[in-house]
Symmetry: C2
Subunit: 262 residues, 2 copies
DNA sequence: TGGGCATACTCGTATAGACGAGTGGGCAAG
DNA sequence: CTTGCCCACTCGTCTATACGAGTATGCCCA
């Protein structure tokens, strides 16, 4: 076992009140912040850290799990612990559903991804008729039965979001909206063809830690929250025509909005 | 040590591949989901769980730390582990900076909080002249020196967000904007009095786990992400007049936006 | 050359024990 | 009755050890 390259990590302060495992986490965090460990770089192994700091392995593991919770590092069984690289973020502009973007045909996700030089995929598409949950029903204006469209989006093979759209069943049944492939311009284009001129969207944004299932669906590393976005589409008569419930890997997105000042 | 009330938690499956500490976490998670432990309720103590599942204490602690990372529970030294109550969320509407809300005088935060029946406070106010960071400078349009206003907001004694506003120094120096109390309607009202008619705001929203300092400033429990919001205000000539960098406790907020459809 | 295996290194899981420190209730002394 | 202390219970920190499982590498043998 080779000694740690000197200068990478300092020593503990035995007189400090701060718990040893926190001091170790502090040292590593500082080393990452100062660039002594770069993005994607491998940290010293647990055994090396044990040696360097003269503590037991559980203490070192405790430090590392601290840093994992902060989203700073992620460990890979059999390989090591690595500084978590910041993946390229996808910027969602507030005009991304503007009609003009719809006219050309392709789905917004595909167009954007290809423009950014990524390979987009859509996955696990499922179209179903079901009873609306209380929340969805309220958002759609007391609708009982809905058509749900569930799908997952990937960029370069990495899942980044999954979403479920809910539409009033009497509106969507028998239309192309009920097909797996809703055609050029997506379901919003189909809604307008059905005479529902879209007026505006409401979006509600929250952030939280993922559930077990979300961690699996998005293959999330420890310490990565999700953004939960619920969008409701309204037609020009003020009727809600669609609710889209989206869960996104928070490290893959920045949402951009424009607000008027009056 | 009393036995656990039966029915609250099940047993382990020794034939399962799933790690014991995960199985225990699963059991507790399910019990919470199904309402067998309510919000704010105390979980069985570590000793009781050790007894119930017949495992060592470190294994139980591992399970609990798993649940903490998910934001489901939080532990309090000397008291126990509790199901994390969902605090009341503050809804930020996209018209919250509309001019009409400014005319009346009070700060937006105060008005909103009082309307919701909470006790608002503003804290650690600090006004400074400083050199703009690269990011802030870029957002303000190559401004070198800025006035920064830093403050923290609390609801019923709980810190929920802290924010720093940056304004071009040549714009703000010597005005009431440079005073700790910017007067009725806040700095946006002062900017308009200075002839800078506000046109719109850009907001960028990201979510991530908090840094050490943010955890302290917002007194965040484990497993609570932050929402990082950067707002830029533009006047009617398209000049950026303010950048506000805000970090919010994600469990205290839902952001609401309205997007036009064309 | 190519395939497969042994091996050494990585992190993952689990045990058992010890002591420290925060909290709250009950009891005893004033 | 009030005050203050002690104790029991809680989680926090740390050690030492053991074995399992995933990964990479190099060597040997076919």
């Amino acid at each position: 076992m080779a000694a740690l390259p000197s200068g990478l990590l300092g020593a503990l302060d035995p007189t400090s009140d701060r718990a040893v495992f926190r001091q170790i986490a502090d040292q590593i965090r500082e080393a990452i912040d100062k660039g002594r460990f770069k993005e994607g770089a491998k940290l010293p192994s647990e055994a090396e850290l044990v040696e360097h700091f003269g503590v037991s392995r559980m203490t070192v593991r405790n430090s590392i799990s601290q840093l994992q919770g902060e989203g700073l590092v992620s460990s890979e069984h059999g390989k090591g612990v690595f500084v978590r690289p910041r993946p390229p973020v996808r910027r969602l502009a507030s005009d991304r559903f503007a009609r003009r973007h719809r006219e050309q045909g392709k789905a917004a996700f595909t167009v954007e991804a290809e423009a950014a030089g990524s390979r987009p995929e859509v996955d696990s598409l499922e179209v179903k008729e079901e009873r609306a949950s209380q929340d969805i029903s309220a958002r759609l204006g007391s609708v009982r039965k809905v058509l749900s469209r569930r799908r997952r989006y990937l960029l370069d093979g990495r899942p980044v979001e999954f979403a479920t759209s809910y539409l009033p069943l009497d509106l969507a049944r028998g239309t192309q909206i009920a097909e797996p492939n809703p055609g050029p311009g997506g379901i919003y284009a189909r809604l307008e063809e059905l005479g529902r001129h879209l007026d505006h969207f409401d979006e509600e944004v929250q952030a939280r830690m993922p559930s077990q299932e979300e961690t699996k669906m998005l293959r999330l590393a420890a310490g990565v929250p999700v953004i939960h976005l619920v969008r409701t589409a309204y037609d020009s008569e003020g009727r809600a025509v669609e609710v889209c419930d989206t869960v996104m890997a928070a490290d893959a997105y920045v949402l951009a909005y424009q607000l008027p000042a009056n």
